[in-house]
Symmetry: C2
């Protein structure tokens, strides 16, 4: 699921400082991910991570400016994992050349379903993605925002097939709205905030809302009545 600490080659210490920093960075990320999976991201403490990795607490700050930066690096790896699963989901819906609205609908359904499965399979890391926030006064790193935006690229081609006449900036808002709607159903469903629902019931809710949205957006006569972006 997530890469562990690379074993040292032949037991020899790594060469230069850059290699050592890289190895410590990797070890800290792996230790963080193990802690999150076992106890949740709220349990993260610099001291515990240092003990697990076998370094001084201060050594962490040679590699990351602060604990938040380490958490964002881990969130970036989780986004990479999610990105690959979304790419696989879209790729599994065969599409040669320009896609029809039928293929686009199946791609959006596959993306939504992949998001639900990711949240189920990687629950603690997925929760860290949206529950952890930067300390007050600090900004979300720009590279992280870029990586998050890149996720929405998967929705762009299918949405273009469904609402071809919608301006690019409005399509981006629509994609984020649809993603957020699916996220809401998945998050409230898995966290049993309202009811205890089976995964199949949550999948049914997600599929219904995505299908209803697509059908509504494609009802050409009503387009102007629907899009309020």
């Amino acid at each position: 699921m997530v890469k562990g600490l690379k074993p040292k080659k032949n037991g020899t210490p790594p060469g230069g400082t850059a290699a050592r920093r890289g190895e410590l960075r990797e070890a800290l990320l792996a230790a963080l991910e193990r802690t999150v999976v076992a106890e949740g991201w709220q349990a993260l403490r610099a001291r515990d991570l240092a003990r697990e990795v076998g370094c001084a607490v201060g050594a962490i700050y040679n590699v990351f400016p602060d604990l938040d930066a380490l958490v964002f690096a881990a969130k970036g790896r989780t986004l990479d994992l999610l990105d690959r699963e979304l790419a696989d989901a879209v790729g599994a819906v065969a599409a040669a050349g320009s896609i029809t609205s039928d293929v686009a609908t199946r791609q959006l359904l596959a993306l939504a379903d992949a998001y639900l499965r990711f949240a189920i399979d990687h629950s603690p890391l997925w929760r860290m993605l949206y529950e952890h926030r930067a300390a007050p006064g600090t900004e979300v790193p720009a590279w992280y925002s870029d990586r998050l935006s890149a996720l929405f690229a998967h929705l762009d081609a299918p949405l273009r097939a469904i609402v071809p006449d919608l301006a690019e900036d409005k399509r981006a808002l629509l994609g984020r709205a649809l993603f957020s709607a699916v996220h809401g159903i998945v998050a409230l469903g898995l966290e049993e905030r309202i009811d205890t629902l089976s995964h199949a019931a949550i999948a049914g809710q997600v599929a219904t809302i995505v299908r209803a949205c697509v059908a509504g957006l494609m009802a050409r006569r009503e387009r102007d009545e629907v899009v309020r972006l």
Copy 2:
């Protein structure tokens, strides 16, 4: 917004034990709400609440079995407030007798908009609603689940007008899905999880998804293709 501590009448101490317990309960809830509004629910500590109210820490546990029970009581009050705003939103859309699908659509839009406004106006209390969870091993109080379910009653009549042939249990799942979708857009939007969006942009996303869902659900020919509950 939330009721404060009732002033003592004429400075005389309240009569019996029940009255004193009721007054302490009210004072603790008011102190909790002030703390949440000022610092967020994560800042809640029994010791601080006792100091603010002017009682011993142990006295809290004469009124609430534990701090979680006090938080759930406060969440219940927040749900009451939300319930009144949702009722007002539905009530403001005039409907004499059985409602048309047009009125139903406007009611659903009014409910979604009221939810967004509530989240904006009462942000810290609204966050406590869905971020606070019962301690591991303890259950959500049954009265709280009932009060949460009661919120969804506001969606029932409009949804019945929009999908009159949908079985009651499926309509309930649909209502929760639509609520969760709106919640997702509001939560990710207000917390700036994806982008920094204006409130107007979030309102546009909410309205678009609700309108698209309604249009899709009403496309009679496609109903069997849409509902997957």
